[in-house]
């Protein structure tokens, strides 16, 4: 899915950098990344822990945790900047235009309030419905996310639900005001494997029905393969490869992406051992010069250690790797 030519994409992140000032200098956690998501599109953002995926998601909803801050770049929703809005202006966008689902359903809900109360307060913040209508809407939402006996469960407290059911409630809360975009930050990581597929299928179905776009942040390539339309692979705060999901999975160009793909088990191919990328992602205070992946890269050569590659178009993908760039000026 290429962005439509005339209308701006639903969400556009331009050259976003996020930094953490510390006593020992400023750490750059997200370094000059650009992303876009169209209406109804599912963008998978994949990468190891600490690659900056969640930070990017937090920055988009304006909830970067102190002392993290946006150092440069722009975030545009429907072509309008939202990264420079006041807290109050941004609050009106959160929930109404951009919903969020977080990693751990066990801790995402306030333990002291019933599910109904949390749904109703969210609905009432964003709509003109009165309490009765909001309650009816809360019931619809719980039914939509597949909570059995939803009517009785409205008055239940979060601790009375299992993890999977709680994540369904969280999804209901995220969808309460019919946002155009949902940022789902590792929505299945904390769940049992058997529940994960259900939750992903639910999220996918609900968003498809409503035409809601999703930014699906995860480190699980399998989830991405099943769910996403496009994928952005992040490494050490940068996007190293992005493109349509089939193209990235079957035709990965960046050595890091290939490594990630090699680590997915396949039923068909009788591979006995999964490939493994040696080493670990660099710490924020020790990101190597040149391409951040160079110490772990099998195909590393001189230039990788000196200069940093920018994204260039190769077939359907965009890749930041010197393997595909013959001259210095070849930046797309």
């Amino acid at each position: 899915m290429a962005p439509q030519n005339d209308s701006p994409p639903l969400l556009e992140v331009r050259n976003l950098s996020i930094e953490f000032p510390t006593r020992r200098g400023t750490l750059v956690a997200v370094d000059d990344i650009s992303l876009h998501i169209d209406q109804g599109e599912v963008l998978g953002v994949v990468g190891e822990s600490g690659a900056g995926k969640s930070l990017t998601g937090n920055a988009i909803i304006g909830l970067l945790e102190h002392p993290g801050r946006i150092a440069s770049g722009e975030i545009l929703l429907n072509g309008k900047r939202i990264d420079n809005l006041s807290y109050e202006q941004m609050r009106r966008i959160r929930g109404r235009d951009i919903g969020a689902v977080f990693q751990d359903p066990l801790t995402s809900l306030n333990p002291l309030y019933t599910v109904s109360r949390q749904l109703v307060e969210t609905i009432k913040v964003h709509t003109d419905l009165d309490t009765g209508a909001a309650r009816a809407r809360a019931l619809e939402l719980l039914e939509a996310v597949g909570i059995p006996a939803a009517k009785e469960r409205l008055s239940s407290y979060p601790h009375e639900f299992s993890g999977g059911m709680r994540q369904r409630v969280v999804i209901a809360l995220a969808l309460a005001a019919e946002p155009r975009l949902i940022i789902a930050d590792e929505p299945t990581t904390a769940l049992d494997v058997s529940i994960q597929a259900q939750i992903i299928a639910l999220l996918k179905r609900l968003c498809a029905e409503r035409g809601t776009a999703v930014m699906l942040v995860t480190h699980d390539m399998g989830v991405i393969a099943e769910t996403a339309d496009r994928v952005a692979v992040m490494y050490a705060g940068r996007v190293v490869e992005t493109g349509p999901v089939a193209s990235v999975i079957q035709n990965a160009h960046h050595p890091y992406t290939s490594g990630l793909m090699g680590s997915i088990p396949h039923m068909k191919h009788g591979v006995n051992r999964l490939t493994q990328i040696d080493g670990a992602m660099p710490r924020l205070n020790a990101i190597p010069q040149g391409c951040a992946f160079n110490p772990r890269c099998e195909k590393v050569f001189d230039r990788c250690r000196k200069e940093r590659p920018e994204l260039i178009s190769i077939e359907q993908n965009e890749v930041a790797c010197w393997l595909y760039q013959s001259d210095v000026g070849g930046v797309s």
């Binding site: 609050r91 959160r94 307060e121």
Partner: protein
């Protein structure tokens, strides 16, 4: 809920029995009441007669049983010093102490919670840092010192507030209150401030640290991500989640304040139970002392019971019976 209340009630009785035993045993050996009651020239046979009359020659367990039997019947004995019935003496003093304690804790709560919330929400603002510094002083200065300084400032120096006694009191049934007269209200300011200062700083610091903790939780972040207003997030979601530990401490502190208002009462000559207790100690007035301990224990137990019940109201996770009924 009812089973819980019954269970706690039985526990409370056990606690009170234990306290009465300790009170009894301790005061049994605290001094000889006879020598306090009679003059030095009283002959030994008269002393022995008195001892016999008061039951002090019985075996100790028997004395305890007598004591318990009397207590259950509401007979707390007579003060060795004044010869008045102890329950009457104490009952006269309880309103003064309770009013002082409640006003002190109210003031500590009303001022301490907002200060704590503010410094939890905005830990970097100068006012928060100021609160933190002042609270260190409040927590480290001894009560009697604060009291004496306040007396010096507001008494002889500024001549603004009364520095001793309760002022005029109004009797409503058995209760005497100073809260309905101007002089009574003026009189309670200094002692309540003194008594409540430590509690104020404690509550403030506790609320602050609990707020800082709760504000970091996922459900607060998720509440913000849902677009709830700051007010709803900070007060509706965050503050309520700090309440369980805060209420625990407030409850315990109310007990403490009732029990250990002694020093403040002494400094301000406040005619409460604490002052009575101090006088009783000087005279080894055993019935007064042991009854005082019992009364304090009753307050402690009752407050703890209320606190435990409040947990149930605040935190649904503690309503175990419900969760079990629904399969956990």
């Amino acid at each position: 809920m009812i089973a819980f209340a019954v269970r706690r009630f039985i526990q409370a009785i056990v606690v009170l029995l234990a306290v009465s035993l300790i009170a009894f045993v301790m005061f049994k050996y605290v001094g000889d009441p006879i020598s306090q009651m009679v003059g030095p020239e009283t002959p030994i046979d008269q002393r022995e007669a008195l001892r016999e009359q008061l039951g002090l020659n019985d075996p100790v367990p028997l004395q305890f049983m007598h004591y318990l039997g009397d207590v259950v019947q509401g007979n707390f004995g007579r003060s060795f010093r004044t010869g008045l019935a102890v329950d009457r003496v104490l009952l006269e003093r309880i309103p003064a102490t309770l009013e002082l304690a409640i006003v002190a804790v109210l003031y500590a709560v009303v001022a301490g919670i907002p200060m704590g919330v503010y410094s939890g929400l905005y830990p970097d603002r100068w006012l928060s840092k100021f609160f933190q510094t002042v609270s260190l002083i409040g927590i480290s200065l001894p009560t009697f010192f604060v009291g004496v300084i306040l007396i010096y400032i507001f008494g002889p120096t500024l001549n603004l507030l009364p520095t001793f006694g309760r002022g005029e009191v109004v009797h409503i049934g058995f209760w005497s209150t100073g809260l309905l007269t101007v002089s009574g209200l003026k009189s309670i300011i200094l002692p309540a401030f003194t008594l409540g200062m430590f509690q104020l700083t404690l509550i403030m610091r506790l609320v602050r640290s609990e707020m800082l903790e709760v504000l970091r939780t996922d459900y607060i972040k998720f509440a913000r991500a849902r677009g709830l207003s700051n007010r709803a997030v900070n007060f509706g979601h965050a503050l309520k989640n700090t309440l369980v530990p805060v209420i625990t401490v407030i409850g315990l502190q109310l007990g403490q304040v009732i029990a250990f208002a002694i020093i403040t009462e002494a400094v301000f000559q406040w005619p409460g139970m604490g002052l009575l207790f101090l006088q009783a100690i000087q005279f080894a007035d055993v019935p007064v002392m042991s009854t005082y301990l019992l009364v304090v224990a009753v307050f402690f137990v009752a407050i703890n019971l209320v606190v435990d019940l409040l947990y149930y109201v605040i935190d649904p996770r503690l309503r175990l019976d419900r969760a079990v009924a629904q399969g956990g």
